[in-house]
Amino acid sequence: MRIGVFICQCGTNIAGTVDTRAVAKKAMEFPDVVFAVDYMYTCSEPGQKEIQDAISSHRLQGVVVAACSPRMHEPTFRRAVKKAGINPYMFEQANIREHCSWIGTDREANTRKAIDMVRMSVEKLRRNQALFSTQVAVNKRVLVIGGGVAGIQAALDCSDGGLEVVMVEREPSIGGKMAKLDKTFPTIDCSSCILGPKMVDVAQKENIRLYAYSEVEAISGYIGNFKVDIRKKATYVDWNACTGCGECTQKCPSKKAFDHFNEGLGATTAINIPFPQAIPKKARIDSDYCRYLTGGKCRVCEKICPVKAIRFDMKDEIVTEEVGAIIVASGYDLFDARVYGEYGGGRYPDVISAMQYERILSASGPYGGHIRRPSDGREPKEIVFISCVGSRDISVDRPYCSGICCMYIAKQAIMTRDHIPDSNCYVSYMDIRAPGKGYDEFIRRAQEEYGVKYIRGRVGRIYPRGDRLVVQGADTLLGVQVEIEADLVVLATGVECSAGARPLAEKLRISYDQHGFYMESHPKLRPVETNTAGVFLAGVCQGPKDIPASVGQGSAAASKVQALFSRDTIETDPQVAHVNENMCIGCGKCEQVCPFGAIRMKTLRDGSRKSEVLETVCQGCGLCNATCPNKAIQLRHSTDDQILAEINTLFD
């Protein structure tokens, strides 16, 4: 084989701590290497051209590039060598940047290490084989998990593009957090006025199939051909029959059910429709509160329902859908303010979360849009907002900024001053973070036009005095202690990953960070892709963000799916397992371990049993390879031979 080696300087990123010239010189001594050179930016267009020119002038049959991580540029270089006529799998990349130049300062040690890494790549390449992809058909349907604003946007964009969409929403209605909001910053648009029509669209589009009150049970398959089991949770109401008239909710005698939509302010009936604009607008029985389901007596709704839709014997049901791509938009949850005992959240009725305050502000909320205190229904005059409750605080394992609280506090304070002009609004803040378009101006409006008083510093303690709350804290700008007697305290609880984010990630085989937010494939360049082909991200499940950013990601994910579906077939990865029938003894161990059912045992004409790999199903994990007692099954591009060659060359 004739091998060419290209050492990238990556400006000074590599050359700063690795002697790239020396590495190239040393590479010339390695077996089969006929050409070696270092270059300023190998991934640049002239850099790629240099490789391509060398391939023709030196008749290269294989190429090693020592540069950044192959997780970054392997596809780039594979394309480049392919253009010059070399099979893309006759290429190896040594990671001398992330794994070498960036982590060590000792130039000599780094250079020795880089030489080793190039040597390993050369030895592996000497054992590479040309590999060829096959084509498999793409199922042009997309699954959207989560029906918040991000998921809705993604679903509608896909639907507009003519794709069939399956949407799975855990709650009885879509809409997510945005459906609960009163107004939205920075324009003070009415939230349900802008979201409502989109929700209706989801219900009306013929190519969107909505599974509300459902969850993803299991996912199998791979890009282009996923199989998804969906659990439709029992609602005890036949939604095909239910017209959403709401008669049952009028008559239900169990009136103390937890009102999830109103964040527990006020109560609802055991059989309920979560809110007037719910999509789908169907009744559901909350089995925790239903008198019949808990105590065996009642069945009032069954008698009332004009279309006889009540089904007390309903069970969860599993349905299976087949799709070619998945968009995850499972959103977020909010920090539990009770963690900060000193604020008295959960203990004092007039210390509430900002989401509860959104409900209080909303005309469809528990108090009809009149601002009242939960404790006694009195209109509050002194209102304190506390920012960063469960954000930017290492002591509660929330080191990150939730990104939205500064803005929604300003919004809520503006709305408060609007509703109650003779009120005083105070905001206790650490820093104000308002980097979006029109955002800083919005904060300024709150301060200047609406007279909201901003106090920089942390609140230390809140305690009751009479029927009011004493808020004690510091003003770090003036260097004084402050004490405010407040009627109402609103805690800006931070964003955290949605409950169930981790198990869902495990079903999807995608990664998440230490706080449970899903990992994008590249933080800058592949923000809505995941490392699992065919699975995309949108909205806050990927990290805290506001509505404009969530909608942007929803559209971005949809366009990625459309790009994927613009072809009828996709190329399979040829790095799959392969059986050498002469060596296979037919023990069937590989079939047992394969997590994907990609191996089938077959009987040859002479009666012997042999293993066979279904190449389009194989995901290339190599479990079979490690298991086979006879080493008859080998994972292409990661064969035993190749890995052992990498080891051996280190100790020659």
Binding site: E98, A109, M117, I643, I647, L650
Partner: protein
């Protein structure tokens, strides 16, 4: 100890690392991007999944002269192939117990789970393991280890 540690300096320590592509290789990349300094003894081999690892590869590395072997993959339940690391864990646990019988100190082999976002943890893992191996010194090779490895000296 002193004369022995002089001997240790004669040759560069080399540690072989087997990292799964989806988690730990990415974690090592993240550590690099964040410029988290690490010792330079580690030579990483990228494998699709820890389930790809045949214990033979670890033994082969030690026989060839590796001073340490580090295997790292996705956290249990997070394997890109769902279960690869469970198989790996079982195999490596068995191997760990066998190493002394083969004449290798079992401390020369370690496995960990590091995700693609855990750059800082990766830095710690590499630093800790490299320190351990430096303390053990160069792998004396099969024939000599028989006297020095306590587990087999009386065997």
């Amino acid at each position: 100890m002193s004369s022995k540690s002089d001997a240790k300096q004669e040759r560069e320590i080399k540690i072989v690392g087997f990292l799964c592509n989806w988690c730990s290789y990415g974690g090592a990349d993240t550590a690099g991007v964040c410029r988290f300094r690490q010792p330079t003894d580690l030579r990483i081999i990228r494998i699709p999944c820890t389930g790809r690892i045949d214990p033979l590869m670890i033994v082969k590395s030690l026989i060839q002269g590796a001073d340490g072997v580090l295997v790292s993959g996705c956290h249990p339940n997070d394997c890109h192939y769902a279960v690869g690391n469970f198989y790996a864990r079982r195999r490596m646990e068995v191997l760990k117990r066998f190493l002394p019988y083969m004449g290798f100190q079992s401390d020369r082999f370690r496995y960990t789970w590091v995700s693609a976002s855990e750059g800082q943890i990766w830095q710690q893992v590499v630093t800790d393991f490299s320190e351990t191996i430096h303390r053990l010194g160069p792998n004396p090779g099969l024939h000599q280890t028989v006297d020095s490895a306590p587990a087999v000296s009386w065997f």
